[in-house]
Symmetry: C2
Subunit: 359 residues, 2 copies
């Protein structure tokens, strides 16, 4: 990486140092449509498998040198326009000793799920010191990354983290989560309040150390009806975005979930600067529903990347056509990179989007 | 069961023999809002586990006495307003020797998935004789069921069946299915055409033997964008509904998928009489989008049934409030009954809905 970056929020006069990602997130003209991929650092990369070894991702995340290297790998290989911190959405809960791990190939598992008020005591408020290894990683990365490639912080939104803590394992029904909502609304909101505070502290620490933007992942919010989302989830996600906006004015925020077309307006109303879309929602439809100048991120179907270079490039061209040249577009997949993805296809997609949109 | 039914499509003058299910599907006034549950016959019932034994569901389905008994169990226990044939969406593919089985706890698996034109040869056109055991079961059931409780036939819609045959196992990405769409559209449409014909023959045979309505399950269509749905799926599902409508005029049809809010108009445009909703779509919203007199089925979140009687009844009351007394409503869950469901809760829901809506 060429130079030390200077991650402040003030506008830069030298065009070469303006990050296309940050410009697009603010709806400002850029040299090209910026590209990054959710889960771009990970099992799809041979250089990741070479350094990662076995063991829990949560242990790997505790090693700043390793995490920084893993974060940089896709930036080097693809030339993407953002680095996304190598992390996991259960890091804050793990860091306060809740008792949760990530099983390879399965996902987050908790031996003793959160089901009662007594369990909430195991989720003490997060302090910056609990995640010093994360901010150490951020320090390394802001030294390494060029000014044109910001570091993205991320956290799980309170609902999605709650679903892992309450189910104790990946779920398709979210039955215990929904049961808690339906049977103890006071405890539900206390859990969500704790998780919202945790997300705020976690992201704020990373921004204070130089991350340039953040994404709030509410991956599984699409399991809810809009009425339940607005009653049980939205106030807490809105608080996360609002408090971070007060502490770090001008820092772009992205909100994303899978299968959330029916929640689009309600998720955007949390106050984020960019709405992340999966391939089920057309970019043009999102702007029709949310406002013509809405900044959007997305939304190539990762299945087309798995299908090969030709289908992936055809899909990428369709995404660009859907965006119709709007400056407020960050190109991404509509979901995380699948582990069996051919990196050559993502490299071709990155180059195609950057060159096709060069101004 | 009290009496032999007479499953013709002519209107009945004797109100006691008018099936509330059929009336509601046609938007006509009924004695009460009819209730049934997707996957009401199955592992959640102790009497099912007592008769079912081990082995593949596909073998159980080949035994008409056993299948008829299993179909009747929830009618007896809950007093639901429809019997749904104990069957599986891969029955027609299995019956023509494609080579597919259903693994307990996992779902449909094919040792040699459908990936090429040569594989299509293993999916020969279905003939009624291939599923004689199914129509034998239908014969037994129409003898047993009262006239007020119609038998529902069902089939997988072409896309959802294709996804099982092409993936070879349950999938969350549908990567091979989408790859085939993206790389060989001619073969894709040939596969879908074959599966549409199969669904038509399968359902038509059951209707000819006295089933009173049918549901087309496109469970996984929600994985597609609307543009892809309309290009790759809708013409085939539309043909299924249209041809069955010609062969069996006046027979109500239901179309259902999970997470299909973004496809609602396109799925309804296949021409069905009733649109099935999951809990993500409000009934009032569906009628606003599709027409104020649209007949709808749904849509209690099965997670609320798992949460216990009180949350389930509160949820059922919310569904009835959402429907606002419209006659064109068939009460159901928004997804299939989960195996660990307490039958006592479903019994309470059935009684609550039937009594609360008694006219």
């Amino acid at each position: 990486m060429e130079q030390r970056s200077d991650h402040t929020d003030r506008p830069r006069s030298d065009e070469a140092t303006v990050a296309p990602f940050l410009a697009a997130a603010r709806g400002e003209p850029t040299t090209h449509t910026p590209v990054w991929f959710m889960r771009q650092a990970g099992r799809s990369l041979p250089e990741y498998r070479a350094v990662r070894g076995d063991g829990s991702i949560l242990d790997a995340i505790k090693q700043p040198d390793l995490s920084a290297e893993i974060t940089l790998q896709p930036v080097r290989r693809y030339g993407v326009d953002a680095a996304v911190l190598y992390s996991d959405i259960v890091v804050p809960a793990h860091a306060v000793g809740f008792g949760i791990d990530v099983e390879p190939g399965r996902g987050p598992v908790a031996d003793t799920p959160l089901r009662s008020r007594a369990d909430l005591d195991r989720l003490r408020p997060l302090e910056a010191d609990d995640v010093a290894y994360v901010t150490d990683t951020v320090d390394l990365l802001v030294d390494e990354l060029p000014a044109t490639v910001p570091l993205l912080a991320f956290a799980g939104a309170p609902f999605t983290v709650a679903s892992y803590l309450i189910e104790g394992a990946p779920s398709r029904t979210y039955q215990h989560t929904k049961a808690l909502m339906a049977t103890d609304e006071v405890l539900w909101h206390d859990v969500m309040d704790r998780l919202a505070s945790s997300a705020i502290e976690f992201i704020s620490a990373q921004l204070a150390h130089g991350a340039g933007a953040f994404q709030l992942f509410d991956s599984w919010a699409g399991a809810l009806s809009r009425a339940d989302y607005e009653r049980f989830v939205q106030p807490h996600s809105r608080r996360v975005v609002a408090e971070l906006g007060e502490r770090h004015p001008g820092v772009p925020s992205i909100h994303f979930g899978i299968g959330c077309d029916h929640l689009l307006e309600s998720m955007y109303a949390c106050g984020v600067s960019v709405i992340g879309l999966d391939w089920r929602t057309r970019i043009a439809d999102a702007r029709r529903r949310l406002g013509t100048d809405t900044a959007v991120q997305g939304n190539l179907d990762p299945a087309l990347v798995l299908a090969g270079t030709d289908p992936a490039l055809a899909g990428a061209a369709a995404v660009l056509a859907d965006n119709a040249g709007h400056p407020a577009h960050i190109f991404n997949l509509g979901h995380g990179v699948q582990p069996d993805t051919d990196p050559g296809v993502l490299e071709a997609v990155t180059r195609f989007v950057q060159e096709e949109t060069r101004r």
